[in-house]
């Protein structure tokens, strides 16, 4: 099948590439751009491990063709830390709050939490849980992921983080 030319911005870098129309965005990112942060989990748009940010939306890159992302601005976990390597506040939050164990879901969780906090600077615990309801974690029981998002929200707003009593 003939390949299609796409122009796409990934983590701030403009990229021109040839893709087969049937190439999924996740495979394009991982195999053509070597961005292996977004993970292939369930491949059925349930688990959210492949979540990336695309034009201001959290999307499951396993359920989108790369050609659909032509012209889009995409951000993956590789684009979160600053150029000097200092962590994004959400990365720091997941580390500080032990928001990961095996880490497989973490790139998707962080990208989803990133968009959630862009839309809602001060989400309630309920809003965080609903906000990440498209991302599965089989290790943590979510408790520390929720805490990590609360930690990041507090830090972004410049208020001290207070852990809720359990």
């Amino acid at each position: 099948m003939a390949k299609t030319q796409i122009a796409i911005t990934v983590n701030g870098k403009a990229i021109d590439a040839l893709v087969e129309p049937r190439t999924l965005l996740i495979h394009f990112l991982r195999e053509q751009l070597n961005l292996t942060g977004p993970h292939v989990g369930c491949e059925t748009s349930h688990c959210g491990a492949c979540t990336v940010d695309l034009d201001g939306k959290s999307v499951k890159s396993c359920t989108m063709f790369a050609v659909q992302a032509n012209g889009a601005d995409v951000r993956t976990i590789e684009g979160m830390a600053a150029a000097d390597g200092s962590l994004h506040v959400l990365q720091e939050a997941f580390r500080e709050m032990h928001g990961l164990q095996c880490g497989f879901c973490t790139p998707g969780m962080i990208l989803r939490a990133y968009r959630l906090l862009q839309e809602n600077k001060n989400p309630s615990e309920d809003e965080i849980r609903m906000g990440i309801s498209g991302n599965l974690c089989r290790c943590t029981g979510y408790q520390n992921i929720v805490k990590a998002v609360q930690y990041a929200a507090a830090k972004i707003s410049g208020v001290p983080f207070r852990e809720a009593a359990e």
Binding site: P21, R22, G48, S58, T63, M64, V67
Partner: protein, 287 residues
């Protein structure tokens, strides 16, 4: 899971899309958000040779008032439906429904048009559109036509759409001010299709039900409009005995499949439970 090969088209206008789809016939498929079609393609249950992506057609986006109707472009996402102030004010049932569809990521991409056009009995919006008395605007090779949601669904994945048709917009008559509505959906987890779900719109007058409409999701090959149940309720206070009769009438028209969500008997009963809850909540919201 890699889909079969296909040629990708991204038309700029509805006319162009219709031309492409008409040209390819059964080998062409319109692509909206893709969150039903792409999973089917990954499983090779769908193997279209040509995908016509509707994302480049600006006319298919947006939510606007048009006289007594609200018109929602087919490519409007569930996220946009849930976030619309106009819909929150005029038809809050749509926000309530879109928020129980799938998960945040899917709602950013999944579209209202795709949800109603796909013909999957598990989709939530079709029963809601039947409940609201919506019509679908369709453009095909012979021009534009309107199809009532209540006449649209013929069987699982079979609808009134012909090859070459594009569903361009959903037109919904705004329910009267003071109406109450609710969508009650039983599901096993976030993102699941309904075990059973019920949509209700009703208006009260002098403590009685002046008008009522009911839709049921995923308890038959098609979404259901429970006309008889609504008739039973109309004119009632609605007291417990009448609600029970209406629930029985709604249960009687279901014929759910047996799947991992439950046996047919269970899902029928759950349709009744969802209806009773939706009626109570809609009545409590009506003024």
């Amino acid at each position: 899971m890699i889909p079969g090969p296909f040629a990708y088209h991204r038309p700029k206008s509805v006319q162009e899309a219709v031309g492409l789809l008409a040209q390819w016939g059964d080998d062409g498929r319109a692509l909206a958000g893709g969150h039903s079609l792409i999973p089917m393609m990954k499983l090779r249950l769908a193997t279209p040779g040509h995908l016509v992506d509707l994302a480049g057609i600006a006319d298919l986006k947006g939510i606007r008032a048009d006289g007594g109707d609200i018109v929602i472009g087919a490519m409007t996402t569930q996220h946009e439906v849930a976030g619309s102030d106009l819909l929150a004010a005029k038809i809050p049932l749509l926000r309530e429904t879109s928020l129980v569809i799938a998960d945040p990521q899917v709602r950013y991409v999944g579209t209202l048009g795709g949800n109603v056009a796909n013909g999957d009995p598990g989709n939530d919006m079709p029963a809601v559109m039947m409940c609201l008395g919506a019509t679908y605007q369709v453009t095909g090779k012979n021009g534009e036509r309107r199809i009532a949601a209540r006449d649209f669904y013929q069987g699982a994945y079979f609808t009134a759409l012909e090859p070459g048709d594009v569903l361009t917009a959903v037109r919904i008559p705004v329910p009267p001010a003071g109406h109450g509505s609710a969508y009650e959906k039983l599901k096993r987890k976030v993102g699941d299709y309904a075990t059973a779900a019920a949509a209700v719109v009703l208006t009260l007058g002098g403590g009685r039900v002046a008008a009522c409409s009911i839709g049921l999701t995923n308890v038959a090959e098609t979404p259901l409009w429970a006309e008889e149940a609504a008739k039973i309720l109309t004119g009632s206070t609605p007291d417990a005995a009448t609600v029970k009769k209406a629930v029985a009438a709604a249960e009687a028209i279901t014929s759910p499949a047996s799947d991992r969500r439950g046996t047919p008997q269970y899902r029928t009963k759950m349709a009744g439970v969802m209806l009773a809850r939706a009626l109570a909540r809609a009545a409590s919201r009506a003024r």
